[in-house]
């Protein structure tokens, strides 16, 4: 038995949980809700076992200090850890607020991350550490960054839910914003699923996946017709979300989730994530860069995008004190903040160049 078996169990459990939570949201059967929670918990336990096992495997291969052998050194391992933090955060919220409806919004983010791992065929092997990564700062910098990313992911879900619940005017900007965001999110998820079934790809590295496989079955198909149809389908889907978005609103409100609770949750997640991100992501990252390369800040794309993300969340925190910004406007900011987070995390490695090794696979 090795860690990959338990990772497999966890992945399957999370995908099933995602389906179960969505079914629960749609049909409100409490049995389904209990099942969803059970599956998520089983997945989480299995995931934790897998993480510890991989740590041990890495420790045995790398023959270095146990703290340096934390399996967080490439895109695969970091995505997996992100999912772990996200599920942990979700379980805490479910337990604290005794409300399962958040699950349908948070587990799809985990599902998307797992789907991305699988269809990109990214390298799952353990590799020894290159010299620059052999530092105790790795543990602090990376775990704190991903803990913060996970809290931002949750705030994204709750902010989106806030917008769903509060926007009644179908012609209003907030309604348009959330329907389009949700529409794009689901379209991307579905397109990635189609890629998976069409290619079952093993591209070797995420870069080559992005370049050669991602959306090749749909938006980037070699046949122009398929590509046009895909775009049309996505637009049509977004239109449907727009047309029937109020149904979702009624569904969520029926779970007795008040907008103020969602607003509060969004704030709490960011209030926890922001200091952790500032310290672990920016400050520790800078100190580490200073130790390794003699420069604490070089404006490389990864650093710059972290700073952009930081400014968006700083904007969020300050905007709460501006008249007329509480509620809708800052929820939009929280959504934008997470989009920036994803870009910092994935986009920079896959689309821009930089010093960081993540993405090299």
């Amino acid at each position: 038995m090795d860690s990959s078996l338990f990772f497999g169990i966890a992945s399957i459990a999370y995908i099933l949980a995602m389906v179960a939570y969505i079914v629960y949201l749609a049909f409100r059967k409490s049995t389904v809700g209990v099942i969803a929670t059970t599956i998520t918990t089983v997945g989480f336990v299995s995931h934790t076992i897998a993480f510890i096992m991989r740590w041990k495997e890495f420790y045995e291969i790398g023959r270095m200090g146990i703290l340096r052998a934390i399996p967080l050194t490439n895109l695969y391992e970091s995505l997996i850890f992100f999912v772990w933090c996200l599920i942990l955060g979700y379980l805490i919220i479910e337990w604290k607020y005794k409300n399962r409806s958040f699950g349908a919004f948070i587990t799809p983010i985990a599902g998307m991350a797992l789907a991305f791992i699988d269809i990109s065929g990214m390298d799952k092997n353990i590799h020894p550490l290159i010299p620059a990564l052999q530092s105790n700062w790795l543990l602090a910098h990376v775990t704190m960054s991903f803990t913060a990313y996970a809290t931002f992911a949750i705030s994204f879900a709750t902010a989106l839910m806030y917008l769903v619940v509060t926007s009644e005017n179908k012609k209003g900007a907030p309604y348009l914003f959330w329907t389009i965001t949700l529409g794009i999110f689901v379209s991307v998820l579905v397109a990635m699923g189609i890629d998976f079934f069409v290619f079952r790809v093993a591209a070797g590295s995420p870069e080559s996946f992005i370049k050669s496989y991602l959306f090749k079955a749909t938006f980037r198909n070699s046949s122009a017709a398929v590509s046009v149809v895909s775009y049309a389908a996505a637009v049509a889907f977004i239109y449907i979300v727009w047309k029937y978005g109020l149904v979702l609103r009624n569904v969520i409100t029926s779970f007795s989730i008040s907008p103020s609770l969602l607003d509060d949750l969004t704030y709490k997640c960011i209030a926890v994530g922001f200091p952790i991100f500032t310290l672990g992501g920016l400050v520790f990252g800078a100190i580490w860069a200073d130790q390794a390369w003699g420069r604490y800040w070089t404006w490389d794309p990864k650093e710059t995008w972290s700073l952009i993300t930081w400014f968006v969340y700083a904007f969020y925190l300050h905007a709460r004190f501006l008249r007329g910004w509480r509620g809708t406007k800052i929820s939009v900011l929280a959504v934008i903040g997470f989009v920036c987070t994803v870009f910092t995390y994935l986009g920079v490695n896959l689309l821009l160049s930089g010093l960081h090794s993540y993405g090299g696979g």
């Binding site: 020894p128 052999q134 400050v283 390794a292 390369w293 404006w299 710059t304 400014f311 904007f315």
Partner: protein, 474 residues
């Protein structure tokens, strides 16, 4: 935000603008949006690279024009452009002015100790609980202040007519957390400015065995170090059977007036510091020369050992025998293709190998490739020839930095952690407990306020109420 008493002169208008959160969020947005452009356009790169990039985005015909516009606006080196520095300056001014504007008021609140409240104020507080205990208020008072202490509140007591009031607070200073965080950002910016003004960033390539008293900036300027730095030894280690680097190490010596002052082995996360200048292991390279020295540890079959240093083509003897050897070929990275044919697969010292010819009484006895990384190749007919190092063919690439501001940056980071902790994980909580004797017991009113995390403070008040009830029943 503006004060009505103030005259609305131009200075006041600017002052009010710089103390406003509105300016802050505008600056956040402008810095973010321009920075996005700065991550897409490659900074300080050859113009052709960015034109190529732009032609992907805008098409070939527009790319040169787009590049010209972006270049004129400074986007090709935007993080040093005057307008970006101006943005950072506005950001800093905003932080300073808003702190000067608000800090005195906050300090006043912080300095003012908690006072007992009149009944009507007490009942107006947002968080309030009531309960009745069986004992007399004098008795309750004893354990109530204990319970408060256990919950982190040091309580003061005031007797009123017919009632007693206990009151306490904690986390008063967390109110300044925001300003501590703001101040730390200013410190970090100040440290960065000091580093830019009084420090330098340079690099230096040192062949094994050579020394330098200068380093070179990227624009070619020579920087005198004030001492000499020498590389005595460089080695790159790889993980078994791979070309994944495990460690790069340089042994450096600092010399002053020809005297050796400091010796240190550095690697990637472990630099050498001397007189404010830091040497980081950044890269390495291969530059073969005639004077390089092959270092062998030779052991004869009889067990006689000797360290041998020879140049290419020079003869050495296996101790205690008549067998001599000499290096006749060398490869920095010896590999074999599928058919078993040997070839050099890299121009770096990834797998150094020496082809050694062994002779006895003038006749060639045997020839053998001896590889540093593969002990099984060290065994020869007449003993063991361990190839330890080829000295004098590699150079170490050092990043040389002087940054007198870095300690201010570090201090800023430290203060920032304190400030962030205080602003996000602490709150200023105040609690009042009024005890009033009633027939057969004491009426207890517990009330409180918190500037943040009100919900969790409410839970805390519930907890304290319960603790009082439990104690009161005994």
């Amino acid at each position: 935000m503006s004060n009505d008493q103030k005259n609305n002169g131009i200075f006041d208008k600017i002052w009010n603008l710089f103390s406003s959160i509105k300016l802050a969020v505008v600056v956040f947005s402008v810095i973010s949006i321009t920075s996005i452009v700065g991550t897409v356009i490659e900074q300080q790169a050859e113009p052709e690279r960015n034109i190529k990039l732009l032609s992907k985005l805008f098409g070939d015909s527009f790319a040169p024009a787009a590049f010209h516009i972006l270049d004129t606006l400074g986007f090709t080196d935007m993080f040093r452009s005057w307008w970006f520095l101006a943005l950072l300056f506005i950001f800093a001014s905003n932080l300073i002015v808003c702190s000067i504007e608000r800090l005195p008021k906050i300090l006043k609140v912080v300095r003012e100790p908690i006072r007992p409240l009149a009944a009507e104020h007490l009942s107006a507080l947002p968080i309030k609980k009531e309960t009745v205990l069986k004992e007399q208020s004098g008795k309750v008072l004893e354990y109530a202040s204990d319970i408060l202490k256990r919950n982190g509140f040091r309580a003061a007591v005031r007797q009123e007519d017919g009632a007693v009031q206990l009151y306490g607070e904690k986390g008063r200073y967390s109110r300044v957390g925001v300003y501590v965080t703001h101040f730390s950002i200013l410190l970090i910016l100040a440290g960065a400015v000091i580093g830019m003004l009084f420090g330098f960033n340079a690099s230096l390539q040192l062949m094994e065995g050579t020394a330098s008293s200068v380093a070179y900036k990227s624009n070619g300027t020579t920087i005198p170090l004030g001492f000499q730095i020498r590389c005595d030894y460089f080695n790159a280690d790889f993980y078994d059977n791979t070309d994944i680097p495990k460690a790069y190490r340089s042994r450096l010596t600092v010399l002053e007036n020809g005297r050796e002052i400091v010796k240190k082995e550095i690697d990637v996360n472990n630099p050498l510091r001397f007189k404010g200048i830091t040497f980081y292991q950044a890269s390495y390279g291969y530059a073969p020369g005639k004077d390089s020295v092959f270092e062998f540890k030779v052991t004869s079959k009889a067990g006689k050992k000797e360290d041998i240093n020879v140049k290419f083509g020079e003869t050495f003897t296996i101790p205690g025998t008549a067998v001599t050897g000499r290096v006749v070929d060398f490869s920095p990275a010896l590999g074999a293709d599928e058919s078993g044919k040997l070839y050099t697969y890299s121009e770096m010292m990834n797998n150094p190998a020496a082809f050694v010819e062994f002779l006895e009484r003038g006749a060639v006895k045997y020839r053998q490739w001896i590889l540093v990384r593969y002990p099984q190749t060290w065994k020869v007919g007449d003993g063991i020839v361990e190839f330890t190092h080829l000295w004098g063919v590699q150079y170490t690439g050092l990043q040389v930095r002087k940054d007198p501001g870095v300690w201010i940056v570090y201090l800023g980071c430290l203060i920032m952690s304190v400030g962030l902790y205080a602003s996000f994980f602490m709150n200023h909580a105040r609690i009042w407990i009024q005890l009033k004797d009633e027939k057969g017991g004491t009426k207890v009113v517990i009330a409180g306020t918190a500037n943040k995390n009100k919900l969790s403070f409410e839970h805390k008040i519930d907890k304290i109420t319960n603790q009082l009830r439990v104690k009161g029943q005994r």
